[in-house]
Symmetry: C2
Subunit: 80 residues, 2 copies
C-alpha cells in the first residue's frame, strides 16, 4: 500500500520560503504570481493491506514525526 | 486560478532525507514502513483566467526555478 502525505504550513502562519519564491518568480518576470505557499510531499510505502490500520498508523506518524502540528497541517491519501 | 505543484526526486536518485525519515519511523516502531521519498508541494495563486497560458507559464517556472530538472521531476494541477 502506498501513502501520499501532504504537510502544509497553516494559513495564518508566515511562510518565508514561499515569500522568497514569490519574490524570485516576480524577478523572473512572472508578475501574475500571487501568494506562494510551500509544503512537503511524502510518498511512503507501507507493508500492510489493512486500510483502516494503515490510516491509523499514518495519523500517528504525522502527529509524532512528519508534521509539526503547532504550525503545520497534514493530510494523506492511501493507494492500492 | 490556483496551481498545485509537486516536485519529486527522480526514481534513480538517492533521497537521503527520505532515508533518514524512514529510519526515524522504524525507530519509533513503525516497522511496516518501506521506502520513503520526500518532495516539495507548492500552492501558487495565479492572477490569470487563461488556462493554456497558465500551464505554459507554470512549466517555465518549474524549469527555471522550482525544480532542478537534473535530479527532480515536477507535475502540476490547475484549479479554478
Amino acid at each position: 500500500m502506498k501513502a501520499k502525505v501532504y504537510v502544509t504550513i497553516k494559513q495564518n502562519v508566515l511562510d518565508p520560503q514561499g515569500n522568497a519564491v514569490q519574490g524570485a518568480l516576480h524577478t523572473l518576470g512572472f508578475n501574475e504570481v500571487g501568494k506562494v505557499r510551500i509544503g512537503k510531499y511524502l510518498e511512503i510505502d507501507l507493508d500492510t493491506n489493512d486500510r483502516a490500520q494503515a490510516e491509523e498508523k499514518l495519523k500517528t506518524m504525522c502527529e509524532k514525526l512528519l508534521a509539526n502540528t503547532v504550525v503545520e497541517d497534514y493530510r494523506f491519501e492511501l493507494e492500492g
